[in-house]
């Protein structure tokens, strides 16, 4: 198992390198000079040249690339050209909000996906199955932001049940921040009102994101469980008198989990992309809305940092998925 984990980690390195390179190339190819974006189009040429030199933009592109990799290896993402703060510090401050949203969206998506998908497979060809298929096609075609706005309209504006934006109401922040995840912090602080407020703020954005992602999960789970339900070991365990619920969940679903988990891991990447739109729709102060706002200012170090951060995050998730897979299916480990 240890060697297995180690190989997974080592295999992630080329993946990250490729992403880093793509980010680097795209940012250099993109129109718009970051210095001009900083100092304004009418700045005197000497100042522009001095700034370029200071940021290392006058060096040959290959040297710039080397510097860039070296800096990232040291955890140095540069300073934001907008705020002059280290990018890594800004990211770490925004990250918990994104993580919290992503985790809750994932919980919503997995919950819908597993139950709806498994039962649709069990009742293959019957009403529940048809409902599941219509649901997944329908929901898959929802644009995230549109769905978010609809939920805001219904539950926020018309029904006044839930807040439509932000992570918390004014003054409803956990007094002591331990993890940055408000749900956990409010529990650690034993602060019930803050906990409720946090959850209320989380519901709409995570349901928005979770429901949109769930469409793929429902389909994936459904088709894989249909496949494993037709296996001989399912018939064999029924022939042993195992209860239907156990046959369905501990045999059929568990065997279907490997491909499902892999897709879930990949979906996590999409989830982060979806988070950009969701965070913007719900004014959620995470990395997604950070990225969008910095693109407007051509804050190259910040953009670069945010994307690289996503890349690391996705790599970590895919390693995690592989490890869970190996844990469920012992054949993977050998």
């Amino acid at each position: 198992m240890k060697t297995y984990i180690l190989t997974r980690v080592l295999l992630a390195i080329p993946m990250i390198l490729i992403i880093l390179t793509i980010v680097f190339v795209i940012l250099r190819v993109l129109p718009g000079n970051p210095v001009l974006a900083m100092v304004g189009p009418k700045a005197p040429p000497q100042i522009v040249a001095a700034m370029e030199k200071e940021m290392g933009l006058d060096k040959p592109i290959i040297v710039q690339y080397g510097d860039y990799l070296l800096n990232i290896a040291h955890g140095n993402f540069g300073r934001s050209t907008l705020t002059s703060l280290p990018v890594i510090q800004e990211l770490m401050q925004k990250f918990p909000a994104t993580l919290e949203l992503t985790i809750f969206a994932m919980i919503v998506a997995i919950f819908i996906g597993i139950f709806f998908g498994t039962y649709a497979a069990y009742y293959y060809g019957r009403t529940l199955d048809v409902v599941a298929r219509v649901y997944s096609i329908f929901v898959y075609s929802f644009p995230v932001f549109w769905f978010g706005i609809m939920l805001q309209l219904i539950f926020g504006v018309w029904l006044h049940w839930l807040p439509v934006s932000g992570r918390s109401s004014p003054f409803m922040i956990p007094p002591h921040v331990y993890t940055g995840l408000y749900v956990i912090d409010s529990i650690l602080n034993l602060d019930w009102p803050v906990f409720v407020d946090t959850i209320r703020h989380l519901i709409l954005p995570s349901v928005t994101l979770g429901v949109v992602i769930s469409s793929i999960f429902v389909r994936m789970v459904r088709s894989n469980v249909i496949l494993s339900l037709s296996s001989q070991y399912v018939v064999a365990s029924r022939a042993r008198g195992v209860k239907e619920k156990k046959v369905l969940f501990s045999h059929a679903l568990k065997n279907a989990m490997a491909p499902i988990l892999t897709i879930m891991g990949l979906e996590f990447a999409l989830l982060l992309a979806g988070a950009v739109l969701t965070e913007t729709t719900f004014s959620w102060p995470g990395i997604g809305s950070y990225l969008i706002s910095r693109i407007a200012y051509r804050d190259f170090p910040a953009i670069q940092g945010a994307i690289v951060f996503f890349a690391f995050f996705i790599a970590a998730v895919s390693i995690l998925v592989d490890i869970i897979n190996a844990w469920i299916d012992p054949r993977v480990r050998y």
């Binding site: 001989q232 022939a239 042993r240 195992v242 469920i328 012992p330």
Partner: protein, 331 residues
Amino acid sequence: MALLEVKNLRIDYLTRRGSVKAVDEISFSIGSRETIGLVGESGCGKSTTGLAMLGLLPTNARISGEIVYNGKDLSKMHQEELRKIRGEEISMIFQDPMTSLDPIMRIRKQFFELIQAHHPKMNENEMEKISSEALKSVGIDPSRLNNYPFEFSGGMRQRVMIALSIALKPSILIADEPTTSLDVVVQEQIMEVLKELKRSKNMSMVLITHDLGVVAEVVDKIVVMYAGHLVEYGNVYPVYEKPLHPYTQLLLESIPNVKLEDRELKYIPGSLPDLKNPPKGCRFSPRCPFSKNICKEKEPPIFEIEGRRVKCWLYGGEINANIDKTSSAVG
């Protein structure tokens, strides 16, 4: 008294292109400690009959007739009642041991699951004891309870399957082609295991197979099936010595024999009829060398002759034709 009695069993599979008459009016019975062989070509309805005895038919199957076990009709029993019988009183092993065990579950857990399904309050020590005993009885070391199925060879997996099926000491074991996917040496070993268990555990057994050699070794009574019909039913030795039905005759002739000079494989020309549209009259008539006019016109009833039952016009003219199809069991 018969332990299990199948009476006029009829199973149709509903498909989009019409219903398939997989099993048609089959009757036979199994006494306690008796082994019965269901024999026939692939697709003749043997496995369907086996699955029906456990109520494990797919949802598109329609069943009529009776399967009476301990005075109760299994074919009309509620699923939860059936579940309690499966694995505890009647259990089953399957053709392909490579896929019959859940690949990602330790053998121990598969045993515990079986036991818990029937004895939810049993503690771990007792379950461990039952599992170890069962494994020992098929010649596998109990320490292998820790293993996953992929760590066993095909023959070993079939042993594990057998151990699972006899762990709770069922009164009937249905073995659906238990040796077909194994190589010859292993086949022999598995049959030995089954024979030994049958002796030591006082079980009845239903052996579903197309291998007549296997049948001759272990079976007391034989049911020969063709295209969903029972064509011949009787004690195994008379049937082997003097098969009455032309199909049984041809089937026995097609067992290869290396001692004969002519070593070409014999076979029965033609193939199974389409069960959506079975031929009028006797279903074997298109392939039968003795086929007469009446065979193509009218389905033969079951004639009782020499303590056997034969579904063939050769053994009864028009006179005997009205013998009751469901006359008493052959014993």
